[in-house]
Point group: C2
Chain length 622, copies 2
């Protein structure tokens, strides 16, 4: 049997240029324009999923394309057609052409690393007419809606079907709200302009939420609150203990966190003057314990070796089941977790900082109540969690306090001490960033040695400025350094405080070292270090480096990325692609369990020391 | 290129005989035994879905099969193996063999027509061990459960994940409850012996429920109750009116029916001494209005032309969403409906009577508050609904009453009247079946003519026995026939009552005629008429034929099938195959809309007459 030789002449290609940004792609003729634009990374808004029933994907075309489709005649005015406007989902490319995409048809937001991301939430709103029933087509309203939406597999729960029955009375068409093949709601009239979502970061101490306009990914309101579970104990362990010991503990913890989320929702919808029943989607990140408690799942297994989660997959539930005061059928998406002690917040950090897309090796350190580190690139990522202890929170520090009015948040030492106090008045205590600064500056001033020993006034090195020497005092029977000015309330850094900081930073640094060893990389290989978290992102990079909290890299490679976990939650909210990435991250990041690992204990002991000074010039390393 | 000729000698087949019933099948060698048994219609219980993880599908084999698998070594004792026992899901047929299936591995129930049906509910329970987590496998409990169940796509909601966390403490393994790929619950220990479901028929007037053991399809408790929505009006129209006019009407109607279902559940679990959290599945049938109200969906569109439903597809919801007091994550399955006025109850009737499997043309008539008729065979089915009016319920009849104590339910007339009164005492009124009997017997006695005119004592035909003649009286100013004996409370059948019955039976008969015309069949083609429904199945077939309620067929072709709708609900509960059939029925039965159809009005007028007597001998027809 003879086959005709494959002939190059039978395949013709066309070049498509997308304006205003000039992306250019070569595609076989016969390709649908919507497909070509997606391949060219030009994200044209198409809520109906290229079915030709929303009329949103208008573009201006000069070039050889297929004739006008009936859908286009319906959605474009005569003048628009005359001017060369088309619907991208209806147009087939027949030859070279130039396509101009108006700003209104483009949906772009920016991720935590400044990377552009297409706004494509999993929820879509489509305004349409449900054809009326008559004797000839006496099928149900839901069947007619399925036909109109061209979604034969459309599913619907009770709330959506209820809303459908009510919307049938509308004289102005209806707006269908879809999440994939699921009908979330049917609203009367055209409500496509109101489309909101919520992104939450549930921390052990603080809960932060953002109300997001799903059309453009913009945050229209932000609110934060203490996690009211704190009244049952400051840390994760105390909450697990309550759930273990009190039969009502789990439900109380769950109700508490749901109440906090609901109070934040109330504040945000008031701020933005939005309707809560126009909130269709919620994403949640948090450490594994907060994740389980928000879900209402017993966290007991997280409290004992081998510290495993009950569930780590992504979970999507109706808001009514979770108890959130938004549209009952809204989808609540629990971002997946990586391991028992590396939660959805870390997935959010990775998503937001884009380590999973990076060609170079990067390190992200998220320091809050716990410290999670992630190291790697698009090829391979490893992560670990370390109990930083309470030092950074101020609770084990003699004059420690939270980062609120009166807290020393920054310390500079030369001939004397310069403080930056929150609120600008006299200090009443010191918070975590101030603590790190104080130790780093005293170390640079030669008043703390490599082992962490604070000099007494007597054994301070020669040349110590008198003002500093004068600050070396005794406080509560231990050596201390007075930070506060004379005449104000006494705030010191004590020898014991320094020991506490050493424990905290040693745990984090030892974890990082295990990760670096696992990947076989050195400090010189680190293209970037991202400091994340409510606390982590406020740390002065030079101080962090001086005390040996992070590896010694040039300062321009250290970046504060803010609450990257929350940014990750927002990305998972506005982009189904980002959500798919989150699920991939959770499955592929390799968790390094540190507990009972000898190698870690050794690294930890070594990391208790402060780095020798001066630090080697990082640029000369490697 | 030369292909080897297809050689018959390369395909070997084996004959497998299944005992004790002797089914025999020929299959290619290499076929899995579980597959061969399914093809031979031998339903071997295999809750784990042939994954080799439940050990239930034990059979005894003599013949040539594959060697023992590791799963079999795990689930069969040494003695069982020595005796020749195997797991059917693990065994490959290599030659002729005889397979004996023990009763305990067979799951068979009977449908409404006595047809055998495999008990295969969509819910499965599997007792297993979740391998403990350790440092090497520190994946989540849910991941380990998925692996143990060999169901990588397992999904779970909040309640199931909660139960999983609690069950982790079990020392005796856990029992996973699955519906397809969805995890419903995880229970501590081995609870496979407790596996219940509920089947409900929600009538406009009466609600009936059955608690079913899902292992064998047996009803372990049955309970009935008035539909408490009745306080808002006896018929569907009055309920739609309430929902239309009162903003709280829909919710009140929904709450009422959910409360009725819950009170029936309470009675049934008490009767059977079962736990309500071991109820995993619920099926519901009902007319379209009851369906919508139980779902909480506004029935407004059913109340005005063209009388369409909001939704007609099958719907599956968690019990928590529907409000039923069973396991919250139990699945509630709303059997699909056919059209606005032909509901899920009719689907249940078809499923139960098996018309959809019939080679011959059959007619089913379900008479309750409304009358639905279905005509056809496996090839094609048509259905219609007719408003029978309130006559059969007794409300428009002078001495009419429900079928309760004191109601005349049967009437025989020869020289005088013989009554069958519910409760056995003197009559206080007449119910629907008594009404039909009375008219039929008076017609046979010559006291009612073809037009429905009741004789007066004066114009009664000659030869009328004196006792009967004496009963022709006046009641409330109209001609009447005294049914009750002298000296007891007066119960009559009046001329007006006869007119009411004529209207009711004419509507039903005219509907049947439209269906027969649509299929082009005559009375002689009707292989069977099934009388169904709370009321319909109590009608005496000869009386129904005499008054022309049903076509004139030999009496041995008329069958009372009881509450066939409820039997259908039970079948959809115990068999996923039956459920698939229900969905096919709902999609394919052709609804004949009768309203505003001239042909129907004409048929209706004609049907107002009573058939001429004597009826032609049906056996000689055609």
């Amino acid at each position: 049997m003879t086959m005709p030789p494959e002939s190059a002449s039978t395949i013709t290609t066309a070049t498509v240029v997308f304006q205003p940004d000039g992306q250019t792609i070569s595609v076989p003729t016969g390709t649908r324009l919507s497909r070509a634009s997606a391949d060219a990374n030009v994200h044209i808004d198409a809520p109906c999923g290229d079915r030709g029933i929303c009329g949103k994907c208008r573009v201006h075309i000069v070039g050889k394309v297929s004739p006008l489709s009936p859908a286009e005649s319906r959605y474009l005015s005569r003048q628009q057609i005359a001017e060369g406007w088309r619907l991208s989902c209806q147009t087939i490319i027949l030859g070279d052409c130039t396509v101009t995409v108006p700003r209104t048809s483009l949906q772009i937001a920016v991720d935590g690393a400044g990377r552009e991301i297409a706004v494509k939430p999993s929820v879509r709103k489509i305004h349409l007419e449900i054809p009326p029933a008559d004797i000839v087509d006496a099928t149900s309203a839901f069947s007619r809606l399925k036909t109109a939406l061209q979604t034969p597999n459309l599913r619907a729960g009770r709330a959506a079907l209820r809303s459908l029955a009510f919307a049938l009375k509308s004289v102005d068409g209806v707006t269908a709200v879809l999440a994939g093949d699921e009908l979330i709601a049917v609203e009367q009239g055209d409500t496509t302009a109101e489309q909101f979502g919520l992104a939450f970061d549930i921390g052990t101490t603080t809960v932060v939420g953002a109300l997001v306009d799903l059309r453009d990914g913009r945050e229209v309101a932000v609110a934060a609150s203490l996690n009211e579970q704190s009244r049952f104990g400051a840390d994760v362990i105390s909450r697990i203990k309550l759930a273990n010991e009190d039969p009502t503990g789990l439900d109380r913890l769950n109700e508490r966190i749901v109440a906090v989320l609901n109070s934040l929702i109330t504040r945000m919808v008031e701020q933005a003057d939005a309707r809560r029943d126009r909130i269709y989607e919620v994403t949640l990140v948090g450490n594994t314990c907060m994740h389980h408690l928000a879900l209402g799942v017993h966290p007991g297994s997280l409290g004992e070796a081998p510290y495993v989660a009950v569930v780590q997959d992504a979970i999507s539930l109706p808001a009514g089941e979770v108890g959130l005061d938004v549209l009952k059928s809204a989808r609540v998406y629990f971002v997946p977790i990586i391991a028992g002690h590396v939660g959805a917040d870390t997935v959010g950090v990775i998503l937001s900082t884009g380590i999973h897309h990076s060609d170079d090796i990067r390190l992200a350190v998220d320091i809050g109540t716990n410290g999670e580190s992630v190291l790697g690139s698009s090829t391979r990522m490893v992560a670990c969690s370390t109990a930083a202890g309470p030092a950074f929170e101020g609770t084990s520090i003699l004059h420690g306090m939270r980062a609120s009015d009166g807290a020393i948040q920054e310390v500079r030492i030369d001939d004397d001490v310069t403080l930056n106090v929150i609120g600008g008045s006299f200090p009443t205590g010191i918070c975590g960033t101030g603590l790190i600064d104080a130790v780093a500056e005293l170390r640079l001033a030669g008043l703390i040695d490599e082992n962490g020993r604070l000099c007494s006034r007597e054994d301070a090195p020669e040349g110590t400025p008198p003002a500093l020497r004068h600050r070396l005092i005794q406080d509560h029977g231990t050596r201390a350094f007075r930070l506060s000015p004379q005449g104000s309330m006494l705030v010191t850094l004590t020898q014991k405080d320094i020991r506490e900081l050493q424990l905290a930073k040693a745990a984090i640094f030892a974890g990082i070292q295990i990760l670096m060893r696992e990947l076989g990389v050195t400090e010189a290989d680190l293209a970037e270090i991202d400091l994340a978290g409510a606390f982590g992102s406020y740390i002065r990079p030079d101080s962090a480096r001086t005390i040996g909290l992070i590896p010694n890299v040039p300062l321009d490679r250290v970046r504060s990325v803010g609450n990257a976990a929350r940014v990750g939650a927002r990305l998972a909210l506005i982009s189904s692609e980002a959500r798919a990435e989150a699920e991939h991250i959770a499955r592929t990041v390799e968790h390094q369990e540190l507990f009972a690992r000898e190698e870690f204990m050794e690294a930890f002991s070594n990391a208790m020391l402060f780095p020798e000074l001066p630090l080697p010039d990082a640029d000369q390393l490697g």
